[in-house]
Symmetry: C2
Subunit: 297 residues, 2 copies
């Protein structure tokens, strides 16, 4: 993990601790462990990272683009963008067509992570031990800038030669729903609430799990849309993503519950992958399996 983040940040000073404090919210940030056999997924992450570095190259005004660059790569890795590219390839699409969308999803994850750790006054949010290298003002502003920048990457990926406008627009609707009031924001609301109120904790945790599932489902569906998948394939990928996301949400459970969930998800997820290219299914499954293992650690 540390190695992966050092590589991504490309410098020795990190904005955030390499592993977020697991006590901060009652869910664990999904662990992406490079020690597992994940060369396929590592290659996807590396391509998304290269795409993003090209898009947010450091330029004038440095006061804006330096922290924008730093905060983009400071958040812990998320499985959401990776899943988008994998789904695109699984339905037979070329990786390149999914990279702008995966980059947009990465940016939105970074924006969410940055804002999640903002030190607000008069707030009952859990205290974060994240270091604020750029200062809270700039981190608020950059978080705000990353979201539209993600949409800009998406809209720019419209290519008349590919006649893909309708796919891009469909992906935009999917993503805006997943990260807006009906998605990521709602999840964050439940994260804060679950921390504050012990009474309705299980309700909040269920919502967190649902939303993380929906976000991963959205990413996988978007990948399938961009890759030219059929409607059936798109919905299969969405369901597959939901299973991955539910485990990825890392909502704390006791061992027995966790084992049961993992078994259920494994079976359901495997079912969704039937009928796709065997070699690719193997690559995507390996990762999921290793994440199941990670989730059980």
């Amino acid at each position: 993990m540390a190695g992966a983040l050092s590589h991504i940040n490309g410098n020795s000073v990190l904005h955030v601790p390499r592993r977020p404090n697991p006590r901060q919210f009652p869910c664990r940030v999904f662990k992406v462990s490079m020690s597992c056999n994940q060369s396929y997924w590592a290659s996807i992450n590396s391509d998304i990272e290269a795409h993003l570095k090209q898009a947010i190259r450091i330029r004038e005004p440095l006061t804006v683009f330096e922290p924008m660059n730093g905060l983009t790569f400071a958040a812990p890795l998320s499985t959401v963008p990776t899943l988008c590219v994998a789904a695109c390839e699984l339905v037979g699409g070329h990786r390149d067509v999914a990279l702008p969308t995966a980059s947009a999803l990465w940016l939105m994850h970074s924006a969410s992570y940055t804002h999640e750790h903002l030190p607000l006054m008069h707030s009952s949010r859990p205290k974060s031990d994240v270091r604020h290298l750029y200062g809270p003002n700039m981190e608020l502003l950059i978080g705000d800038a990353l979201i539209p920048f993600g949409f800009e990457l998406l809209a720019n990926s419209d290519d008349p030669a590919r006649n893909n406008s309708n796919r891009i627009l469909r992906v935009m609707v999917e993503i805006s729903r997943a990260i807006g009031s009906q998605g990521m924001i709602h999840k964050q609301y439940h994260q804060v609430e679950s921390y504050q109120s012990n009474n309705a904790k299980s309700d909040h945790l269920e919502k967190i799990e649902q939303h993380e599932g929906a976000l991963h489902g959205c990413a996988a569906a978007c990948g399938a849309i961009l890759g030219g998948g059929s409607e059936e394939e798109i919905e299969k990928m969405r369901r597959y993503g939901v299973y991955v996301g539910k485990v990825a949400s890392g909502v704390e459970r006791n061992d027995k519950e966790m084992k049961k969930l993992v078994e259920e998800m494994r079976a359901s997820a495997t079912k969704e992958l039937r009928g796709f290219n065997e070699a690719k299914v193997q690559a995507i499954s390996n990762y999921f399996e290793s994440n199941f293992m990670c989730a059980q650690v």
Copy 2:
């Protein structure tokens, strides 16, 4: 102003003071005075408001949609969305085709206003006297939700019957640039900087003016794109918007400078409107003239 906002909020409890504290940033929030002869503009605002109320109807979960509704209508009126619709009509388009984009611009203005007044710890931002009815956590989250929600409205306005996908995508790129790192965020950065450092104040104020101009220019260009304007008309509208925005930025100047700017802008703006439908030019000019007057108050 008070009347207009009460009407928009539809209730007697306002989240924010009806007029923001002009000392907060070294620029004045543009005044939209209903006492001027602005029935054309009032009708546009009323239509955008109706469109938004339909889009963000209060529903479950109330904890999310109530503050989302409240914060959408709590910010002072902005000329940006209105200008978008006016530009669409000026190039011969129907008002309806510009309403989703104008609503998105409204939402982005509300998001920006909400975040601008967040009480951050360890921050040298000027203290805001805005009341935080929903609490800082929720205001941070809702601000984050309003931006993707704006993009969702935009993407949803794609209509195969109108074959307008390319226009919608073009508008998305325009808006994401205008509100992202190259636009609104950069302006806010300069607002904060100009407050903190007296040394380079004039540089910062110039940037604020440029960005407000660019944002208005973007809105007008988007209206013209959606209304089916030619490339020449789109660029005319963009330049017209830039003039409106520069005055609207309300950067504090001494009387002599202000008068000079207003005269220059009036002449340049009038030039850009030559060749369009006379009656519509009159309606749009009336508003601009009255704003010039307001700006000189």
